[in-house]
C-alpha cells in the first residue's frame, strides 16, 4: 500500500482562457477560377495482340527404335538340350567349377581378325566361356588343364589357319586334341586328318585315348590296298598318318577327291622347305581348316615360317618381307607361350657346362686331322663346297667324342662318373648324341648301367617298349637317344638329368631334346650337362650358336633380326678361317 500524501500541503486551483484562433485572409489571384475548373479527361484504347498466353508443347510419343537382330542355328547354339549335369558330376569330371564361384577363370573364344561379318564375329563373342562349354558338354579330363591351355584351345577353335607354337612341354597335343574334340561335338568338323612324324603316331594314339577317349581314331598303316580303303573310309572322324606314308600315298591322294574339314600337322617344321616332296604332298590335300603345331616355327631362318604359311595361307608371306611387317602379318595366326612365362611352378632348368680337355691320344688325332683337313680344303681352292667343310667338322666332332684309334674319350670319363651317381640316387638320365655309332659305343662302355637305346637303328615296333621299360623299370637309369629320333613329341618328364654328349648345329633342336624331360609333370629341377671339348671345333661352334639362341626368341617376339638362325655358309667356312668361294647363298645348316 502507498502512503497517503499529507493533506496540509494540497495546492489551490485557478482557471483562465486564451484565444487560439489565427485569422486567415484570402487574397484573390488569377488562379482562383482555374482551381475551381474540373480537369479535362481523355482516354486511349489499346488492343491485346495475343488472346492466350504462350504455350510450348512437347510430345512424348514412344520413339521407334532401330534394332539389329541375330538368330543362331540350333546346332551351333547347342539345341540338343542335354540335361545339365549336377555339380557333383562336374566335380568328378575334374572340370572347372560350375558354380558362380568358378568365375575367376573365364576363357573367351575370340573371333579371328579375318572374320569380317558382324554376325559371324558375334557368334563367337556370344559363346559361353570355354570352361562352361567343356563343363556343359560333360567332357572329362584326366587332369585340370592350365589356364594357358584353355587359351590355346580358345585360340584354335575358331581359326581356319593357325600355328600353335608353344615351347615344347606345354601340352600342344592336348590343346589340339581338345579343340578337335569341341569342333567334332559342335558338328563344325566331321573329318580330321592328323599328320605327324612316324615315331609319334603311337604317342598321338595314347594322347587321344587320354584326352578324347570317345573320339574314334584310325591310324593309316599296312599294305597299300588297306591304306587305300582307310583313306576313302568316311565313318571314322579322325585319321592319323605320318609324313613318310603321306609321300608314299601321294598318287592316291592326288587322284582322289579327298577333302578334310581339318588338317593338323604335328612338328610342322617338316614342311618348312616349300620345294620338298613332303611339303608339296601336304599342301595338295583338300581341306577347310589348316593347323600347324610346332615348337620351332623358325628353326633355321624365317624361310621356315614362310614354308609353313604356304600350307596355312598360301601366298600371304614371303621371305623378302621386312621382319617387322612379317611379324605383324602373322600375329593373328600364331600363339606361342614359353614355360618361363606361363608355368610359375615348373621346376627350373639347371645348365652345367662340362668343359673337358681331350685326352692326349684324342689331342694328337684331333690336331693331325684338323691340320690335314684344312690343307686339303685349301688345296681345293674354288672347288671347295659346303659339303667339304661339313665333312671336316663332322670328323673333328667325332674325334671329340672318341679317339678312333684308341677309343679314348675325355667326355666318357666324365659322363660315366656322373651316370654312376645318377643311378646310385635312383634317378633317370637321357644321353643325347647326333651319331648312332657314338650311342652304340656308349652302350658298350656303360654296360654296367644296362642303358637302353632309342635311335634310328632301333626298330619302330620296339621303340615304344623301350620307352615303357625305361619309365617303368626301376633298374633302368640311362637312355641313350639320338637327336633325330628323340627330339620331338616324347614325354620323358620323369627324367631329372639330360646329357648332351655332343652338340647339335641348331639351338632349337637342342632345346627340343632338353624339353623331353623338362615339361609339365617334371618332378624336380632338370639338370642339363653340355659336354664341350676345350680348344676344339666344338668350342667355336658353341660361340656362334650362343648368339643364334638369342635370335630365335627375338624373331617370335617381333624384334628386328637377321634371317638365318642356324650356321650360315659364311659362318661354317669361318670355323676354319677359310674364304667362302664366289657363288653366293646363305643355306643354313
Amino acid at each position: 500500500m502507498l502512503p497517503k500524501p499529507p493533506s496540509s500541503i494540497a495546492p489551490s486551483t485557478s482557471l483562465g482562457s486564451a484565444d487560439l484562433i489565427t485569422p486567415v485572409q484570402l487574397y484573390s489571384s488569377g488562379w482562383d477560377q482555374a482551381i475551381r475548373r474540373l480537369p479535362k479527361l481523355s482516354t486511349n484504347s489499346t488492343t491485346h495482340l495475343h488472346a492466350t498466353p504462350d504455350c510450348v508443347s512437347v510430345s512424348f510419343q514412344p520413339t521407334r527404335l532401330k534394332t539389329h537382330g541375330f538368330v543362331f542355328t540350333p546346332s551351333a547354339a547347342g539345341a540338343s538340350v542335354a540335361t545339365p549335369r549336377s555339380a557333383a558330376t562336374a566335380a568328378r569330371a575334374g572340370g572347372p567349377p560350375s558354380s558362380p564361384q568358378g568365375r575367376s577363370t573365364r576363357t573367351r573364344i575370340k573371333p579371328p581378325s579375318d572374320v569380317i561379318k558382324l554376325q559371324d564375329r558375334l557368334f563367337y563373342m556370344l559363346q559361353p566361356p570355354l570352361e562352361s562349354i567343356l563343363n556343359s558338354e560333360s567332357l572329362s579330363f584326366p587332369c585340370q588343364p592350365f589356364p594357358y591351355q584353355y587359351e590355346g584351345i580358345a585360340f584354335l577353335y575358331p581359326r581356319f589357319a593357325a600355328i600353335l607354337a608353344d615351347e615344347m612341354g606345354l601340352g600342344k597335343t592336348m590343346q589340339a586334341i581338345t579343340a578337335v574334340r569341341l569342333l567334332l561335338r559342335a558338328g563344325e568338323v566331321r573329318s580330321v586328318l592328323l599328320v605327324c612324324p612316324k615315331p609319334l603316331v603311337t604317342n598321338w594314339q595314347r594322347e587321344f585315348a587320354l584326352w578324347a577317349p570317345e573320339v574314334p581314331l584310325d591310324v593309316i598303316s599296312g599294305q597299300q590296298h588297306r591304306r587305300r580303303w582307310q583313306w576313302l573310309e568316311t565313318q571314322v572322324p579322325v585319321k592319323v598318318t605320318n609324313y613318310e606314308l603321306l609321300v608314299r600315298d601321294r598318287e592316291l591322294l592326288e587322284n582322289s577327291s579327298l577333302h578334310f574339314d581339318l588338317m593338323v600337322l604335328d612338328e610342322a617344321q617338316r614342311i618348312k622347305n616349300r620345294s620338298s616332296t613332303t611339303s608339296q604332298v601336304v599342301r595338295g590335300i583338300g581341306r577347310s581348316r589348316s593347323w600347324a603345331l610346332t615348337g620351332t616355327p623358325i628353326e633355321n631362318s624365317v624361310e621356315d615360317l614362310v614354308g609353313i604359311f604356304e600350307f596355312l595361307s598360301p601366298g600371304s608371306l614371303s621371305a623378302e618381307m621386312e621382319p617387322r611387317r612379317m611379324a605383324k602379318k602373322v600375329g593373328d595366326y600364331i600363339i606361342r607361350r614359353t614355360k618361363d612365362k606361363v608355368l610359375d611352378d615348373l621346376p627350373p632348368k639347371l645348365f652345367r657346362d662340362a668343359n673337358v680337355d681331350l685326352t692326349p691320344a684324342q689331342q694328337t688325332t684331333y690336331k693331325m686331322a684338323e691340320q690335314q683337313g684344312v690343307i686339303e680344303l685349301s688345296e681345293l681352292r674354288e672347288g671347295i663346297t659346303i659339303q667339304h667343310v661339313f665333312e671336316l667338322v663332322l670328323r673333328l666332332k667325332q674325334i671329340c667324342n672318341f679317339d678312333p684309334k684308341t677309343g679314348e674319350s675325355c667326355k666318357l670319363e666324365r659322363l660315366a662318373a656322373d651316370l654312376d651317381e645318377v643311378a646310385a640316387s635312383g634317378k633317370k638320365a637321357i644321353v643325347f648324341s647326333q651319331w648312332v655309332k657314338t650311342l652304340q659305343r656308349l652302350d658298350q662302355s656303360l654296360a654296367h648301367l644296362r642303358p637302353l637305346q632309342y635311335h634310328g637303328k632301333v626298330a619302330m615296333g620296339r621303340r615304344d617298349s623301350v620307352l615303357r621299360e625305361f619309365k617303368e623299370d626301376a633298374t633302368r637309369h640311362v637312355l641313350l637317344m639320338s637327336y633325330g629320333a628323340g627330339s620331338v613329341g616324347l614325354n620323358l618328364q620323369f627324367c631329372e638329368y639330360v646329357f648332351l654328349f655332343d652338340r647339335w648345329w641348331n639351338p632349337a633342336v637342342e632345346d627340343q631334346a632338353i624339353n623331353r624331360a623338362h615339361r609339365i609333370g617334371s618332378a624336380g629341377p632338370v639338370t642339363i650337362t653340355r659336354f664341350l671339348a676345350i680348344g676344339t671345333i666344338e668350342e667355336r661352334i658353341d660361340e656362334v650358336l650362343q648368339h643364334k639362341r638369342a635370335i630365335f626368341d627375338a624373331v617370335l617376339s617381333h624384334a628386328e633380326t637377321g634371317k638365318s638362325l642356324g650356321l650360315t655358309q659364311h659362318e661354317i667356312f669361318g670355323l676354319f678361317n677359310l674364304q667362302q668361294p664366289p657363288p653366293s647363298g646363305s643355306n643354313a645348316a
Binding site: H68, A77, F123, L126
Partner: protein, 193 residues
C-alpha cells in the same frame, strides 16, 4: 552359322542398357538356351534423350527409356519367348510393367542405379506445393543357386514363378556371366556401326 529359325526350347533372356559417352544409350538382349548357348541376340541403335525429356521425366527418365522403350522393344523383337528375363540394371526392370515375363535384377540395386517409377514418393505441403523425392523401395529378394536376384515389389508374385522356372530348367548359370558377353557384343556392334 546363322539362321532365321530359332530353337523352340526353354530359354532365358538377358537384358542390359549401357550409356556410351557422347553416343547415347544402347540396349542389348541375349537369349540363351539351357546350356548357356546363344539363341538370339538383339541390340538397338544408340538413342539420346533430349533436354526436354531429361527435365520433364526427371528421375523417371531412365526407367522410361531403359525399360519401356529399349527393354520392351528388344524383348518383343526376339522370336524366342524366354521363361525368365534378367537384367543387370535396375531401371530396365520397368519393362516388366508392359510384358508378362518375370524380370529379375541380378544382384542388389546399388545407389548408383536410379530407381523406378513405383518408388517415387509424393508428399503434399499445406501451402499446396508438393515435392517429389526418391525413397528406398521395398524390394523383393530371391536366391537362385548362388545368384541373388531382386524383384519389383509390385510384381511380388514373380518370386514363386521365377523359382519354379529356374528349378524346372535345372539351370546352373552364373547369371552375371552372360552380361559380359552382351557388353562385349555391344562394344563390337557399336564399333562396327
Amino acid at each position: 552359322m546363322l539362321s532365321r529359325q530359332p530353337a523352340m526350347e526353354p530359354t532365358v533372356g538377358f537384358l542390359t542398357v549401357i550409356e556410351k559417352d557422347g553416343a547415347g544409350w544402347l540396349g542389348g538382349y541375349l537369349v540363351l538356351n539351357q546350356r548357356a548357348r546363344p539363341v538370339e541376340f538383339h541390340c538397338t541403335a544408340p538413342i539420346k534423350p533430349n533436354r526436354a525429356q531429361e527435365i520433364l521425366y526427371g528421375p523417371t527418365l531412365r526407367p522410361f527409356v531403359y525399360g519401356e522403350q529399349i527393354g520392351t522393344t528388344l524383348i518383343q523383337k526376339a522370336k524366342s519367348k524366354p521363361q525368365l528375363i534378367f537384367t543387370d540394371t535396375a531401371p530396365a526392370m520397368s519393362a516388366r510393367d508392359l510384358i508378362k515375363t518375370p524380370i529379375g535384377l541380378v544382384g542388389l540395386p546399388t545407389a548408383k542405379q536410379p530407381s523406378e517409377p513405383g518408388d517415387i514418393n509424393t508428399s503434399h505441403r499445406l501451402d499446396g506445393a508438393h515435392s517429389t523425392t526418391l525413397s528406398e523401395p521395398h524390394w523383393v529378394y530371391v536366391q537362385l543357386g548362388e545368384n541373388e536376384i531382386t524383384l519389383q515389389p509390385q510384381h511380388a508374385d514373380d518370386q514363386a514363378l521365377i523359382v519354379r522356372h529356374w528349378t524346372e530348367m535345372e539351370l546352373q548359370l552364373d547369371l552375371s556371366e552372360p552380361f559380359e558377353r552382351v557388353h562385349q557384343a555391344l562394344a563390337e556392334a557399336y564399333q562396327d556401326a
